[in-house]
Symmetry: C2
Subunit: 169 residues, 2 copies
């Protein structure tokens, strides 16, 4: 089965992201707005996987998510995103979920982001990005949990388990 | 914010349900296939809510989900569902999530089910239900977790937290 690990930001931020995604994101209906910590991977050992994730999340305290810009992955792809500031908690978490037990080939360098548009035609891509780049965004919130998801046959994702960050979880 | 509590069945059962939902369920894109344990309710105290749910789920062991028929809520509504056999664990869980701290007016008697069609026109409703009633279904699996969800402005649901059933969770 195919799994992935993400952060769902607050409802406010998800609603803001969805106001763009409804029009510009081909994956709008498949998953709520999210920050991907670990790209899709295959495993048949989900119980062990969950145990390993728990070990990691217990050792990492809640941290701040700061959304600070609109940007894109152009020319690699016509993906538009809300950029999330790097910080120690977030980077450590992502690193640990992609090394040791979790080692997996990473296709790209980790750039924390919330996708709000993808698979756009060139014209629309440049138009939307141009308009977004003139906006300012500076949103801060605390991230205190991550989610392990699995993918259904229709491409959508269901939550398997939530992991709270920090020792008290 | 509006919350709800559900069971997501196994991937297999979700895929089976989605094969109908894609055509017949107006809520297909808003939430994965699920068994509702507690209808939508409002609260601003989600941390306390989570604590109270944990108290309950710790005291209830994993139980069997047995999907045994296709049926409908006609004439109350044109909803078609997969019926889930009642059993002690499931009924106790549902009862405790709707009494005491969780008291809320229940609009309907609890009939455990996975919706696979809703908001259908009469003709299509009777046609689909007629065909499904000739099928047999007898699927068993273990339920070992429930999910607390919240609703976004677009009507879709995001998982806030997973609760594992039983003492060891």
């Amino acid at each position: 089965m195919k799994y992935g690990i993400v952060i769902f930001p607050s409802k406010n931020l998800q609603d803001m992201a969805n106001s763009f995604r409804a029009r510009y994101d081909s994956h709008y209906a498949q998953i709520p707005p999210h920050i991907t910590l670990k790209e899709a991977f295959e495993t048949t050992e989900v119980k062990e996987l969950a145990k390993e994730i728990k070990k990691i999340t217990k050792e990492i305290n809640p941290f701040t998510l700061n959304v600070f810009k609109y940007s894109s992955f152009h020319p690699v792809s016509n993906t538009i995103y809300m950029g999330v500031q790097e910080n120690e908690g977030l980077l450590t978490l992502q690193k640990r979920l992609n090394s040791g037990y979790f080692t997996q080939e990473e296709k790209y360098q980790f750039i924390p982001h919330i996708t709000i548009g993808q698979d756009l035609e060139d014209d629309e891509f440049h138009d939307v990005l141009g308009r977004l780049r003139m906006k300012t965004i500076n949103h801060e919130e605390v991230c205190d949990r991550i989610q392990l998801l699995y993918q259904l046959d229709n491409g959508s994702w269901t939550v398997y388990e939530t992991f709270l960050l920090g020792k008290e979880s």
